[in-house]
């Protein structure tokens, strides 16, 4: 029972590089989310997806791109990484039928140097 998995768990990249964070879920949940977590800011929604090929912006989408060609995968790409994107990134999924309980992945700790 893999649930929801993120890779890599840790990543160091240089300013200006493109980096992709992967998220895979085995439950066939319709909804998937990307959050970033910074000290003192809780969880802030970057992008979300209601189904394959349907994505939308969250609170802090600038500098990020997502895609969802398959229900189970929801990669997050930083097109040109900046130091302000150093953060812990969490992917989550949920089944929405009047229930917004979210299941989170283990997180990816990204450092941009």
């Amino acid at each position: 029972d893999a649930g929801i998995t993120q890779s890599p768990r840790y990543k160091i990249t240089e300013t200006g590089r493109q980096v992709t964070l992967m998220c895979h879920q085995t439950w066939s949940h319709s909804y998937m989310f990307w959050y970033r977590q910074d000290l003192g800011h809780g969880l802030r929604l970057i992008y979300y997806s209601a189904a394959a090929d349907i994505t939308d912006k969250g609170e802090v989408p600038d500098g990020y791109v997502v895609s969802r060609s398959k229900t189970e995968n929801f990669p997050l790409t930083l097109e040109s990484a900046t130091r302000s994107q150093t953060s812990v990134y969490f992917c989550a999924s949920s089944v929405y039928r009047g229930n917004t309980e979210a299941f989170f992945g283990q997180g990816t700790r990204l450092t941009v140097v």
């Binding site: 809780g42 969880l43 929604l45 917004t100 309980e101 979210a102």
Partner: protein
């Protein structure tokens, strides 16, 4: 926009003392969820409250949803070192069927043995 605020931001208690965190929304919520994040871990769903005035218990944890459905609280009786972590509340974003929630910034609990 919709805001979910939590207080206090930090709470330090002696083992055995009680702990309460409060969550307040700027708008009426259809439901509210509570999550716990252990240090270095990912958020884990604890419970969802739906009805006005609802009270639910999980062992030493008591969750309440306000009558106006704009506030909620989590109370832990006789804290233990295993209760250490950050507790988040989250409420569905209004006027959307996207199944996404706004998270509070969390209350970080430390317990001194």
């Amino acid at each position: 926009g919709q805001q979910v605020m939590q207080i206090p931001q930090y709470q330090h208690v002696q083992e055995g003392e009680d702990f309460t965190t409060y969550c307040n929304s700027s708008t009426t919520l259809s439901n509210i969820q509570w999550y716990k994040q252990r240090p270095g871990g990912h958020p884990v769903f604890l419970i969802q409250l739906v009805k006005s005035g609802e009270v639910k218990k999980q062992k030493r944890l008591t969750f309440q949803f306000g009558e106006a459905k704009k506030n909620s609280s989590l109370h832990i009786t006789a804290t233990q070192t295993t209760d250490v972590g950050t507790y988040f509340c989250a409420g569905p974003v209004l006027n959307t069927n996207a199944g996404k929630s706004t998270f509070g910034d969390g209350t970080t609990l430390t317990v001194k043995p």
